[in-house]
Symmetry: C2
Subunit: 110 residues, 2 copies
DNA sequence: CTAACCTACAACCAAATGGTTGTAGATCAG
DNA sequence: CTGATCTACAACCATTTGGTTGTAGGTTAG
């Protein structure tokens, strides 16, 4: 099996993490530059604590890292985690394409 | 913006739909063949109604279709929806790679 | 030192999720 | 026709989620 049991929890966290537009936006932002948590919080119409939670979700999914710098906490893209995410999504897509193409062939033959 | 506002809801539903291992498994199964809802339900250690709900989530995310055949409801892969999902995931991956690579370059230069 | 700022964390709340059971309507087999 | 099967749907429940406010501690600026 391409997608084995070991990856299941990883996929759960990954898809879960991306299943929120604020979190997707945070990922987008931090892949382009650095942001403190409060810097991120300023961007959205919600409380600091809410953004803090979103960052925590992304951190648990290994998509971002936090690093203390003075009184601020700097949020950065976790490149390793993002590459891994990319790999997992690639595997998933590849699986579909194989199967979907195979079905298409079967339908064409029939 | 590559990922515009129109896609946000779509992405929400897509990632949400994939954020459950049972649903991912259902997608995997129906891309390889046909299953009635009860046929699917027999595969998992949960009630028929639970599986019915999972199928409903996948249907709302345009990943599968249901078609009545006699007293059964046949669940099939929604090829169009899956291709669209693939496209969206590709866009997302591409965005990361661009940004992550750009950051890598900046770091290498610095 | 003091005040402002950034963060962590707890407590709380409403709504969504993932599951259950139960009921009722179609459809098929005998 | 009758009984078994497949489905739809409602009601309910526990947990998670996405949000809030409030409190407290560390850090920086003046």
């Amino acid at each position: 099996m391409v997608v084995d049991q070991l990856h299941e929890t990883e996929l759960d966290r990954l898809f879960q993490a991306f299943a929120d537009s604020t979190r997707r936006d945070i990922v987008r932002r931090v892949t382009v530059g650095e942001f403190s948590v409060s810097g991120l919080a300023a961007l959205y119409a919600m409380s600091f604590a809410a953004v803090q939670k979103h960052v925590a979700v992304l951190e648990r999914a290994s998509l971002v890292t936090k690093e203390k710098r003075g009184r601020e906490q700097i949020v950065r893209a976790n490149h390793e985690g993002l590459q891994n995410a990319r790999r997992l999504l690639d595997e998933y897509e590849h699986m579909w394409c194989q199967r979907v193409d195979r079905m298409a062939d079967i339908l064409a033959e029939g």
